[in-house]
């Protein structure tokens, strides 16, 4: 004995997913069709057995391996979005004191007397410093070349080399609205011994 009704429709009926009209029609059909009634009972029984099925759990070894892998990953993940000065220093791989000296230039904000720095802003700031550093060292190279030539520009200080480079430098100003920290302007020195950008009296790092 067979019936042309689709099993899928019976499963939808058992789940209460048939629209009222189709459900009423099927209900009427079930009263006279033993095959479909038996199929529906089997579907309901299967649903009940599915609910009773225990869930598989990872073994203790698998949990250990997974947690270890996650710990390694998490430790290596990027610095937090908002960093303390110390975290920013670790992020930049410099000493906190070095960063503290440059605090007036950092894209930082202050809450309760403590400095906080957004990672994204810090990354932007690094990019700007890189650009300025590259420009500054290129200018330094030009000045070095020019030093072999008799300097003819009269800037009122006998056109000495130091002043000539100062003319090339971009004027500095702190980020608008930023709190000025009492940080001394110290000249940074690159690995190759050439002078890099200045601190608070160096080029403008707040733009872009």
């Amino acid at each position: 004995m067979t019936c042309e009704r689709k099993h899928e429709e019976l499963a939808a009926f058992a789940a209460g997913d048939l629209d009222p009209e189709s459900a009423a029609a099927l209900k009427g059909h079930l009263e006279g069709c033993a095959v479909c009634a038996r199929r529906l009972a089997a579907i309901r029984e299967t649903d009940a057995r599915l609910k009773l099925l225990p869930r598989l759990r990872p073994s203790a070894g698998a949990m250990l391996r997974t947690r270890r892998a996650l710990n390694e990953e998490l430790r290596a993940r990027p610095a937090p979005e908002v960093m303390t000065l110390e975290e920013a220093a670790a992020f930049l791989r410099v000493e906190p004191d070095d960063l503290r000296e440059a605090a007036s230039q950092l894209p930082a904000f202050e809450i309760g007397g403590r400095i906080r720095i957004r990672r994204e802003k810090l990354i932007d700031w690094i990019a700007r410093r890189e650009r300025v550093y590259a420009r500054s060292t290129a200018e330094s190279d030009v000045a070095h070349i020019l030093s072999g030539i008799k300097w003819e520009v009269d800037d009122g200080t006998n056109g000495d080399k130091g002043r000539a480079r100062a003319v090339l430098a971009v004027p500095c100003r702190a980020p608008q609205g930023a709190r000025q920290h009492p940080v001394g302007a110290q000249r940074e020195q690159g690995r190759d011994g050439r002078h890099g950008i200045r601190g608070s009296s160096g080029p403008d790092l707040s733009g872009a």
């Binding site: 499963a11 089997a42 029984e45 225990p54 598989l56 990872p58 997974t66 996650l70 990953e73 979005e81």
Partner: protein
């Protein structure tokens, strides 16, 4: 749900709170593992998917937009990783078959989960019947019946229309009922 929501935990994790990630893992690792066991051929693959899923969550936490849909997002990651593995396995088999070296289907991915040996025969039969379903039906049913997801959540996890998801789930339940009924020696009717 007690404590912070999944979205809140993920937001805390994004701000650097590693305990929040642990809480998410504790809350959902069984869902992911059980789903992977139903989709894949063995415990080892399921364990790999468990690990890879949460690594992917950690790496792409920023990409998640908090709309209270963490579970569908998580299960979509797990499902995609399962499909990748199944795809690789099929390719491997095809290459072996082309070389004239026919792999043993039943041996793939062994060993199975050890708990299965402790289950009674009826439970093992249901588990095996689910595992024998076609892939699309299996993944839809696994998410709906075992992970307790709504049709909407399954639809989001599988990135399939709601109507398709319902049809897959109903077809899977009907097929299971047939298979289990048949196994018990009852008369099998036409589908």
């Amino acid at each position: 749900m007690d404590g912070p929501s999944d979205d809140e935990l993920l937001a805390m994790f994004r701000e650097g709170d590693l305990d929040a990630f642990d809480a998410l893992f504790d809350r959902h690792h069984v869902d992911v593992y059980h789903f992977a066991c139903l989709m894949l051929n063995g415990r080892n693959d399921a364990e790999d998917v468990l690990q890879d899923t949460f690594l992917a969550v950690a790496r792409s936490a920023r990409a998640y937009s908090p709309r209270g849909r963490f579970r569908p997002w998580l299960m979509r990651i797990a499902r995609n990783l399962c499909l990748n593995r199944l795809h690789s396995e099929r390719l491997r088999r095809r290459v072996l078959a082309a070389d004239g070296d026919f792999p043993d289907e039943s041996a793939s991915g062994a060993p199975a989960a050890p708990e299965l040996l402790e289950w009674d025969e009826g439970m093992r039969a249901v588990h095996e019947a689910v595992r024998a379903l076609p892939e699309r039906q299996r993944e839809a049913l696994a998410l709906y019946a075992f992970e307790g997801m709504t049709y909407g959540e399954v639809s989001e996890a599988l990135q399939a229309p709601m109507g398709t998801v319902k049809a897959l789930i109903h077809r899977a339940r009907a097929a299971l009922a047939l298979a289990l009924n048949h196994d018990q020696g009852a008369q099998r009717d036409d589908v």
